[in-house]
Amino acid sequence: MPKQTSEIDHGRRRALKCMAWAGTGLAWTMAGGVPFTTGLVGGAQAAPVPVPVPATGLTFAQISDSHVGFDKPANPDALATLREAVAGIRGLPNQPAFVIHTGDISHLSRDEQFDAADQALKELGLPIFFVPGEHDVLDDGMGAAYLARYGKGPNGKALGAGWYSFDHGGVHFIALVNVLNLKAGGLGNLGEDQLAWLADDLRAVADSAPVVVFAHIPLWTVYPDWGWGTDDGARALGLLKRFGSVTVLNGHIHQILQKVEGNVAFHTARSTAFPQPAPGSAPSPGPMKLPADKLRGALGVTTVSYRPKSGPLAVVDATLA
């Protein structure tokens, strides 16, 4: 369906784009901790699948890997696609309460890239909670520029390299930083200070509270040959074992991957800038160059909904096309 829209007049194209935004993509719902596909929509024969909208409860959106400043052939204008993602979220019938950005806001940690990203994200008119990606800590101060801009966190509570937690709608949110002090030959890294803080932070949280953890690099080992994992991620997950519902949201790999282990659902989001290949399917994890009319079908954002007493969180991905 998105392919046909280019032949349709402007007004109609707009309407179709909105529809596509609301319904396109792989929709996952979770029941009893096991997520399953409710439908792959956007195909010619598939009927639109309604996005699960909680009557009451919490909905938030995830933007990841906007790489503002990236201008290579895979996407000559990463700012434009970020703006489209922002417009898509603004057009959602069920407005999220806030947005999380799971890192790689900028491509090279330059002030003008952060500025442009901030300008585009401001259009959301929503609170945004950030964690840095490795592309956001490339300044001489190794993250000082990120910290100066985003390091206060919500209510000035961010600590260390910018980690923090907050509560919203009965959900406990934890923002972790795993892109600093990386060791040769290693993967993402949380470090002792952050793990100690996490253990302390969780002490006051009831087992029954749903927990959402977000960080840039996947906390689970996706594909170590490409560095897709976090060396001490298992220690963080160990601290989360006693909770009945844990949702782990990551970015970094520019594609949707997910799995469920016990009470923990892992999910990675698409990028708004460029796609990366499936693990091991290419010589390297470098940007995938798609034909121009295919790019937006590989970019997107994620929406997460939680309704109290209704089980695990529902995670829905939507593409830009």
Partner: protein, 110 residues
């Protein structure tokens, strides 16, 4: 006359051999060659041929390049002898090694 020319050529060659440059390309998230033997005084140049930025950092933290965008380069003259282990500080699974052993710039381990 001929002998003098030969002598001149030898003189000219000595500094060239000493100030040798060895290039390490960063391509497909790999340092290539990943291991290189060089003579003391060699200038090692890393060139980023990927369309993703990389950075070169010594494992012992003795040096760290700025971030290298596509086609940007970073060079270091190595004194040696010894082995310099390094990695990409953005993508730490990328590792490499420069062995300074008077090996006359012979690259190994392509």
């Amino acid at each position: 006359m001929k002998r003098r020319l030969a002598a001149l050529l030898i003189c000219a060659f000595v500094p060239v051999a000493r100030a040798e440059t060895v290039e390490i390309r960063i391509d497909n998230f790999t340092f290539s060659p990943a291991e290189v033997h060089v003579a003391p005084g060699t200038t090692v140049v890393w060139v980023n041929a990927d369309d993703i930025p990389h950075a070169v950092a010594a494992t012992d933290k003795s040096f760290r390049s700025k971030v290298l965008d596509t086609e940007e380069r970073y060079s270091r003259t190595v004194a040696g002898p010894g082995t310099i282990e390094y990695f990409c500080s953005l993508h730490p699974h990328m590792t490499g090694r420069v062995i300074v052993d008077g090996g006359g710039g012979q690259a190994a381990g392509r």
